[in-house]
């Protein structure tokens, strides 16, 4: 049996939650004070994901870079792969919120989209 400890981020209380795992499956969750905590803990230990926000270079704009984000969540352990994949991306102004900067970033199946008008 494996026990994973984490801090819940669903509200300011920040419960310390313990998740008991067996063969990759959640068997028990303790320390949470609401169902949202249990839900967070379960997904955090089985399939932790994050939205990545970063920058890509921009040609011909008022500024040399423009902000981007992953259009959906990517696996937590792929975050640095995502930003590294953006290193070679250069867009040309004008760009708008929602424009795709890079499709299927780092093989995650998730697109990276522009988050500012520039």
């Amino acid at each position: 049996m494996d026990i994973r400890e984490l801090t819940c981020i669903r509200c300011p209380i920040g419960c310390h939650i313990s998740v008991e795992m067996e063969e990759g499956k959640v068997v028990n969750i303790t320390g949470n004070s609401c169902p949202r905590g249990a839900e967070y803990a379960a997904s955090e230990v089985t399939d932790p994901v994050r939205t990545v926000t970063s920058l890509v270079r921009l040609k011909g704009g008022a500024r040399p870079v423009v902000s981007v984000k992953t259009a959906g969540n990517v696996p937590k352990d792929r975050m640095m792969d995502v930003v590294a994949a953006l290193k070679e991306v250069e867009l040309e102004a004008p760009v708008h919120i929602g424009d795709v900067a890079l499709r299927d970033v780092a093989g995650t199946g998730i697109d990276v989209v522009v988050t500012a008008n520039a």
Binding site: T7, P12, I13, T51, V65, K69
Partner: protein
């Protein structure tokens, strides 16, 4: 004679100014002008490219520029006029007309004046510098406020350094720990003088824990090395009086120190106008309408008090805009002379507003405040004229997270009706569990 006349001038086109403009316009104010000193609307949101904005307002998670864009589009759609690259340098009150005289300048129009019936102060805030912390040592380059580093990285695509220590666990510092890591820098640690973090829990998890960056609570920088560029900092643990404990010093070799040690409302203009200030918040002293001591001058957002979430800024600014519109249109209602002073004590540091005229409050009024320490399993107790109005059990309260209570007009009126006096008092305090 001024160069221009306006009903409402909003100073600042950041989240507060934009929301105030949209709401004032919605409430029927027509002759509005937003004055923004930067080259675009949106204020500091433009450099806050991380997500987490808008969960309350739009029920979705947006980045800063996306959140700003929601409001900018409403300003554009409502054809609310704004001036960019324009700095307000003076603000005065005309005793005769009651108009507010704004002096501003830009490259196109030079120096000019505007008279306005109402003004909304929405200038935001700036970061506290190193000096405010009295960190000893040398004064090399490589020491930045977290917001400065954020500007460099997010707006200019430049790296202010490569090997980073962050002092202060305010949200901007936490966010920058992740941003610097994403862009190729090494963040060694975040040191926090207090035994608790000044930032949001989710930022500690997602900006530090995710990247294995240690958060050193009850630690501070006690020496800065490097005559030219920063070469390193010494960090020591502090005791319960926040004094460094000898023998706990650890040297961190780094070329960059980011400071995230709090924000100060930017109130130079409010001072020129003679607005009464609140010594605790560094912002104006306001009533239930978010009106300052100068009639027709309202304040909202971080220039009033530092917020933790932009959603709250938008909400507060919405109210300021609405009240400013009512002022212009002569719809503020009739005051009956009753006044409630809000007193904060026993762990509650301040409240916004500070004073309430019950006849002029809406059916409900949100009062926002912060506590001065971390509290666990306490009650938040609110009294009006000695009678308990509410008692809210709280699992955790911390200085980094803004708290709020809602006053209900009918309840308030019921209690003050029992008093002969016109002056009343609400007390907000932290108490042990009932």
């Amino acid at each position: 004679m001024t160069d221009m006349k306006k009903d409402l001038v909003i100073i600042g086109g950041g989240p507060a100014g934009l929301s105030a403009a949209v709401s004032a316009s919605r409430e029927g104010a027509e002759d509005i002008l937003i004055i923004e000193r930067d080259t675009r609307l949106g204020g500091i949101l433009n450099q806050c490219i991380h997500n987490g904005f808008g969960l309350h307002t739009f029920k979705e998670e947006l980045t800063g520029p996306e959140y700003a864009d929601r409001y900018i589009r409403q300003v554009e759609d409502g054809k609310i006029p704004y001036m960019l690259d324009t700095m307000v340098v003076d603000l005065a009150y005309d005793d005769g007309s009651g108009d507010k005289i704004i002096t501003a300048m830009n490259a196109k129009d030079g120096l000019f004046t505007i008279s306005a019936k109402a003004v909304i102060l929405a200038m935001g805030c700036r970061e506290r510098p190193r000096g405010a912390l009295n960190i000893p040592g040398f004064r090399p380059s490589g020491i930045y406020s977290a917001g400065t580093a954020q500007y460099y990285v997010n707006m200019e695509g430049r790296m202010p350094g490569r090997k980073v220590v962050i002092l202060g666990s305010g949200d901007i510092g936490l966010i920058m720990a992740r941003r610097m890591t994403y862009e190729g820098a090494k963040v060694l640690c975040v040191a926090e003088l207090q035994p608790y973090s000044g930032g949001l829990k989710r930022n500690i998890v997602q900006c530090l824990d995710d990247f294995g960056i240690p958060l050193l609570l009850s630690h501070t920088v006690v020496d800065i090395k490097g005559k030219k560029r920063l070469e390193g900092v010494t960090i020591a643990e502090v005791d319960e009086n926040r004094k460094p404990i000898p023998g706990t010093e650890v040297f961190y070799e780094c070329d960059t120190l980011l400071l995230s040690c709090g924000l100060i409302p930017e109130n130079e203009l409010s001072g020129k106008l003679g607005v009464r200030m609140n010594g605790v918040t560094g912002g104006a002293y306001v009533n239930e309408s978010l009106e300052t001591s100068v009639p027709g001058v309202y304040a909202c957002g971080n220039v009033l008090h530092v917020h933790d979430l932009v959603d709250y800024v938008s909400g507060e600014a919405d109210m300021a805009g609405k009240n400013a519109a009512a002022f212009i249109l002569g719809r503020t209602g009739t005051d009956d002379g009753n006044v409630i002073n809000i007193k904060t004590e026993n762990g509650v540091r301040y409240s916004v507003p500070s004073v309430v005229r019950p006849a002029l409050m809406g059916n409900t009024l949100t009062v926002r405040f912060r506590v001065g320490n971390e509290y666990r399993d306490k009650d938040l107790a609110v009294y009006l004229n000695g009678k308990q109005l509410m008692r809210l059990p709280k699992r955790v309260m911390a200085p980094g997270e803004m708290e709020q209570i809602v006053l209900v007009k009918s309840k308030v009126e019921e209690i003050i009706a029992a008093s002969e006096a016109k002056e009343h008092e609400v007390v907000i305090r932290v108490e042990d569990k009932a």
